[in-house]
Symmetry: C2
């Protein structure tokens, strides 16, 4: 079957099955492995702490377009997405490797800007870029691998329980709104434009917030990279729970609410917000909220009631809202939308 028919999630499953079949439980590396493929990052037992590693690739004309992004923004984002994966594990980032495949006709000045911006972000999070790889290619391909650790424990996808509250940091849909503006779908004034562009191209990874979640006893988290519903679905699938989302609770940035009639769709399916979606008891979430300087909003809960779907959406009138699919598929390339939702 072709990958575009199979889809990203089935392909991921196929690969995981092959890797699982290859396990040698008698080997030390497999004994030390805490989390293999299928979470935001891999985790294994180091000598005195858990080691965490994650990798992400950005491909020109798939993930970015040089006509609409600067080299500064590209360098920042390429590292930010991996930092966000470490944040989603509750980890502390340490060392990054950057693999660049570049066309020969690029200007070296562009690459200087790219690397400088990346080191600026790295410094903010006390992370060192320590190696990488250079090759030529027709289009730009950037793969960032980030290695970190946690002295205590990690946040996982598989630990949600029935009755957990579902919360997110910051706002959902701001990045997708930024992308719509960058693509010229909507004109905005320049200060608004700057906020949304930054949300899309220079997100701030929630490293500090991830550590607070661990400290406050939260066990379950993911970063919103595929989209709120898609990422919540990853947690529901991994934990075997159902979720009920109250649409009017979803935190949407005032600039997005004001300018985008489709703001709720952007918030639910837009992706790339790199906020943390986390689940815990109400008490625990309240404690985490008090400890954080960013907004934290409860948007729903896990429940045995909502048997109809893995994830149910309820509007302000208490009516369930039908929708089609759960998320972005890299191969299918269908950007899913709910039916008839307007905020």
């Amino acid at each position: 079957m072709k990958l575009q028919e199979l889809g990203e999630f089935e392909l991921t499953k196929l690969i995981r099955e092959i890797i699982d079949d290859s396990r040698h439980p008698e080997q030390a590396i497999w004994q030390d492995l805490s989390i293999g493929p299928g979470d935001d990052a891999a985790v294994w037992q180091g000598n005195n702490h858990l080691q965490i590693a994650t990798t992400d690739t950005m491909v020109q004309d798939v993930h970015f377009d040089l006509d609409t992004v600067t080299w500064d923004e590209l360098g920042w984002k390429a590292l930010a997405v991996s930092l966000s994966d470490i944040a989603a594990m509750g980890g502390i980032p340490q060392y990054a490797l950057v693999s660049l495949s570049l066309p020969g006709e690029l200007e070296s000045e562009s690459i200087s800007k790219f690397i400088k911006s990346m080191t600026n972000l790295a410094s903010k999070f006390e992370t060192a870029i320590v190696g990488g790889n250079l090759t030529s290619s027709l289009r730009i391909i950037i793969t960032t691998t980030l290695i970190g650790y946690t002295p205590d424990r990690v946040l996982m996808r598989s630990t949600a329980r029935d009755g957990d509250c579902i919360a997110i940091t910051g706002y959902a849909g701001t990045s997708a709104a930024g992308l719509e503006n960058i693509l010229g779908k909507i004109a905005l004034d320049s200060s608004c434009q700057q906020v949304l562009r930054r949300a899309h191209l220079q997100p701030t990874p929630r490293i500090k917030e991830g550590r607070i979640l661990v400290g406050q006893g939260v066990k379950t988290a993911i970063d919103i990279s595929d989209g709120l519903i898609a990422d919540l679905n990853h947690i529901c699938e991994a934990s075997g729970v159902n979720a009920l989302i109250e649409l009017e609770q979803i935190p949407i940035h005032p600039l997005v609410k004001h300018n985008f009639h489709n703001c709720l769709e952007l918030a639910l399916w837009g992706g790339e917000d790199y906020e943390l979606l986390f689940l815990a008891s109400e008490d625990t979430i309240n404690k985490a909220k008090l400890a954080m300087s960013c907004p934290v909003t409860v948007i729903g809960k896990t429940t045995k009631e909502a048997q109809l779907k893995r994830i149910s959406l309820r509007d302000r009138n208490g009516s369930f809202v039908p929708y089609e699919r759960e998320g972005w598929d890299h191969f299918g390339k269908k950007f899913s939308r709910a039916k008839n939702i307007r905020s």
Copy 2:
């Protein structure tokens, strides 16, 4: 300046300078860093051992052609090149992350073969594939990141001294000969073809040999990925030494010697042999040789005498052989050749 004018090595230097400028010596991550960009892998102090990490990218139609390589071979090679970097550091591989960018029209069966082959090689070296990333792209891009460790110390590029002997494991040029055959430049009988194809597409990383080198007191090593002369040049530059190579000592596989009139050129500039090139005193090299089951050949020495060039080549008559450049450049794409060398 365009990258194709600047060249790979200058671009690497530029990136290293920016990263060096970004260092924060007061941060723990920089204090723990033993080796940053510029060796076969990055190395930092873990709790009880040195941690090692390396990354490599293979791009379709740059590094491989689906018309001439099978998915089994591709999976093997994509991991083997990273294992070889860990071997060149004298390290023990542990965990791999694999980032795949794939066109939607690929068959999932191909990816299954690819991953199975990769897990087969991983198992041989007690390595676990623990994560990665999937994205769509027009051409296939494979980035493998490998994390390992050493309980004692690492092999480096910068530790060669005047008077060291220069040795290599196995044969040089076999991989390049395999590539010439695959590209249809020369017809060979099928058993010969199989040996050379395997050398090019399914090299065996010298992990065991790297550990022996550490155990026997060798300090300096690199793997031959760019080519014997290019990689020796990396060591000479990093260590500030000159080298004198005796051309008739270079070990060339009998099948290559017999079938390729340009075998010496392939051995010197061909690359991708993934053998270890290492430097130490004669005594130390003899001890290492005794401890290894593969061929080990001394091919020259570092010297203060050879002042004319970083690397001098001497033929069987004691005459110095002129040559043009030192290696493969990913952006310049010039596959350098010596003048007038025939073995």
